[in-house]
């Protein structure tokens, strides 16, 4: 006799599953964080060096540098930046979705060390004298030119410096304002150029106090950036780009669309294959696969992991591998059916005997993925996380989920004497 109750609960489960997926799919998909290889943006690996020769890079200086970088990224306004320290002296910064890459990269790596020097490049005042957070972009009253105003901690130093410079003769009575001056740059050389490397070199004819006004050859945006850069603070270190990757938004989008398209066709073939080969067992496997895909994406989003192109590939491959668990079990059940067992006992024996096989095969993959995660760069890490998640979820959906769903039909006696529904020909069954 067919027990209707179990079959009804099977359909109830299906409906509940469909409702849950239907209601939550959209918010989950909207919350997927895309990596820069899909969204466009850039990633830079910086080699960190001390500002002064002979200084050492400690973990303290590295952390200070990271804080300064974070402040600057706030200036750029990127929603999902990722900054990480690698090894002893490297910092990796990834900014997905950045629009203006050129100025963002410039903003990140400038040390932003403001110095005031005389015409012989002798250091008069450096950035540590600045009152923090007081730099502002303003417009000059008379010319309406954008300018940057700053405040020094005390006026004494500036008074002293301007007094000395005032006494010099033209053209040496200038106070040269540099951003990131480095050895070898001289005022004398730069002043001959059309675009000098210093910001400005005002002539000093009166004593100045602690309020400083910089009149450079700024556009409004440049003046604004400089003010924000000065407020974010200077970097305690020098950073050289040793690796960089930048992805155009179109390139990223194309890769994603193509990969999803190819993957969807592949998955559709898997579904068809399972139906043809395992009939009813295949249908159950396909239902658990849908739950699997949903669960993997949900867990991935829940962990706030970043989806990369290899991650999508891993998701698609994971579907192929998750079916493995279904196939091992269904093949085993088929074997038992062929040896003449009833559907019920074949189902029991098949589940029991296939379990350790599935366990062994999934654990080996997890081992490989874990090693990948530890040693990988960001794109590879996305792949490794996806692989680990999919192997764990496989266990829940394709082993326990499939067993439960198929069990409802088997225990409900709906499949009794119908081995054909599980893909076994009547003629192949040996008499017990």
């Amino acid at each position: 006799m067919v027990k209707k109750g179990r079959i009804i609960s099977f359909f109830v489960i299906l409906v509940v599953l469909a409702i849950v997926i239907g209601l939550t799919a959209k918010p989950i998909v909207n919350n997927i964080k895309l990596g820069l290889d899909l969204k466009g943006g850039f990633e830079v690996l910086y080699q960190v060096k001390p500002l002064k020769q002979g200084d050492k890079i400690t973990s303290g200086t590295l952390h200070n540098a990271v804080t300064a970088i974070e402040k600057r990224i706030n200036v750029i306004g990127v929603s999902e930046p990722s900054i990480s320290i690698e090894g002893n002296d490297r910092i990796r910064v990834a900014l997905p979705g950045v629009k203006d890459e050129k100025s963002a990269r410039k903003l990140l790596s400038t040390t932003a060390n403001l110095t005031f020097r005389d015409s012989n490049d002798k250091l008069m005042i450096d950035g540590s004298e600045l009152e923090p957070g007081k730099a502002k972009m303003e417009f000059q009253n008379t010319t309406n030119q954008p300018i940057v105003t700053l405040q020094l901690k005390s006026s004494k130093k500036m008074e002293q410096v301007t007094r000395t410079i005032m006494k010099k003769t033209i053209p040496d009575n200038v106070l040269v304002i540099w951003l990131d001056w480095h050895k070898g740059q001289t005022y004398k050389e730069e002043s001959k150029k059309a675009k000098p490397a210093y910001i400005s070199a005002p002539r000093v004819d009166e004593e100045l106090g602690k309020n400083v006004m910089i009149q450079g050859d700024f556009t409004t945006q440049e003046a604004k950036n400089l003010a924000e850069l000065l407020n974010a603070g200077s970097l305690p270190v020098k950073m050289d780009e040793i690796y960089s990757q930048s992805v155009g938004p179109q390139f990223g989008k194309d890769s994603m669309v193509q990969t999803l398209y190819g993957g969807t066709i592949g998955v559709a073939i898997i579904f068809l294959f399972m139906l043809v080969f395992y009939r009813f067992g295949g249908l159950i496997a396909n239902i658990t696969l849908c739950a699997y895909i949903y669960a993997v994406i949900a867990v991935f989003v829940g962990l706030q992991a970043v989806l990369t192109l290899p991650g999508i590939a891993a998701l698609i491959l994971g579907i192929g591998m998750a079916v493995d668990a279904n196939i091992i079990t269904l093949e085993r059940i088929k074997d038992e059916l062929r040896s003449g067992k009833s559907v019920l006992s074949a189902f029991r024996a098949g589940n029991h005997r296939s379990f350790s096989t599935v366990l062994d095969s999934n654990l080996t993959t997890i081992i490989a993925a874990a090693v990948l995660f530890v040693f990988g760069t960001s794109a590879v890490r996305g792949f490794a996380i996806m692989l680990i998640i999919s192997n764990v979820v496989t266990f829940i959906t394709s082993v326990f989920g499939a067993r439960w769903l198929l069990g409802l039909w088997v225990h409900g006696r709906a499949l009794d004497k119908k081995p054909g529904l599980l893909g076994v020909k009547k003629g192949d069954v040996h008499d017990a």
């Binding site: 960089s244 990757q245 155009g248 193509q258 898997i270 294959f273 095969s361 490989a368 993925a369 530890v374």
Partner: protein, 306 residues
């Protein structure tokens, strides 16, 4: 199915020979053709220019030489060849990459420029890390199989696995396909996956040995068990590899160019993996097992006399 009645033990030497020849070929190829390493492992710059149509290659090279760069390789890909990839053997700094990007946009209209540049130091580190990853993953897997099965099975499983990984490298070297960081992921995935097939078959061997009440000692005895186990699991082995191959093939055809090396490596690795677990691992295990037993027997018969 023909394979269901195939005597794997009887014909083992054919397959052992094929695999040895392929491996030797790989070693030879590595010496002659070497590997086409991408900038990930060496250093230099790769620029991908995406336009809405194929760009004239000579014009692209002209632009690059105007800027003072010598291109090492320029290729086009994508359905309409709309992606042009330029390789430079120089690493670029921030201002250089910005000026290239600006110039390309100026010369070819509103194109989309993606660029990655690697310094020698980073390339070396990456290659080192990748090698460590492969070695460490292999060691962990050997340890796991050793614990769950017997040592000889662990050993043959790992031989089959190295055989698969090396075969991927052979194909990449012979066909001169670019090896990038994703290649390493693919090889590791194959290492994790190809051992599945082997384990599933060994699993059945273990079970069949328990079921047969006979004391096994000759190659014939073990050969029977091995053949029986392979026949019982072959449908499963082929079906599971098929379900992974389906998406790999569609990704190969329709997927993004950026993951092409990855999908090629997986494709080769999956095929080689199913071959090695059926034709190499189990028969090899039977041969080693019989030798091992014979040695032990000899020891036992000698020992009492001494």
């Amino acid at each position: 199915m023909m394979l269901k009645h195939f005597d794997f033990i009887k014909h083992r030497n054919i397959f052992f020979t094929i695999s040895i020849v392929l491996t030797l070929l790989g070693i030879l190829s590595l010496f002659i053709f070497k590997l086409n390493l991408s900038i990930d492992f060496t250093s230099g710059t790769r620029i991908d220019v995406t336009a809405n149509k194929a760009l004239p290659l000579t014009k692209v090279e002209q632009t690059m030489s105007d800027l003072g760069y010598q291109t090492e390789q320029t290729v086009q890909s994508g359905q309409n060849n709309q992606v042009t990839t330029i390789r430079l053997n120089k690493e670029l700094n921030r201002t250089q990459s910005a000026s290239i990007s600006d110039r390309l946009k100026q010369d070819f209209g509103n194109v989309d420029v993606s660029m990655s540049t690697v310094s020698p130091q980073v390339g070396r580190d990456l290659a080192k890390k990748a090698l460590y990853a492969v070695i460490i993953a292999s060691l962990f897997i050997i340890a796991y199989v050793w614990i769950r099965f017997e040592f000889l099975q662990g050993l043959t499983a790992v031989i089959a696995l190295i055989h698969d990984a090396f075969f991927i490298i052979t194909v990449f070297s012979l066909l001169h396909i670019e090896v990038n960081i994703l290649f390493i992921s693919a090889v590791l995935t194959i290492i994790g996956y190809s051992i599945n097939d082997t384990i599933v078959t060994f699993d059945r061997v273990r079970e069949n040995i328990k079921l047969s009440k006979k004391r096994l000692s000759t190659l014939e005895d073990f050969g029977h068990i091995v053949n029986q186990s392979i026949h019982q699991t072959i449908t499963r082995s082929i079906n599971t590899v098929l379900t992974v191959l389906f998406p790999v093939i569609t990704l190969l055809i329709f997927g993004s160019e950026s993951i092409r090396t990855f999908t090629i490596a997986l494709f080769v690795g999956l095929l080689c993996g199913v071959y090695s677990s059926i034709f190499i691992a189990c028969p090899l295990w039977a041969v080693l097992k019989v030798k091992h037993l014979a040695k032990r027997k000899k020891k036992r018969t000698i020992q009492p006399q001494s």
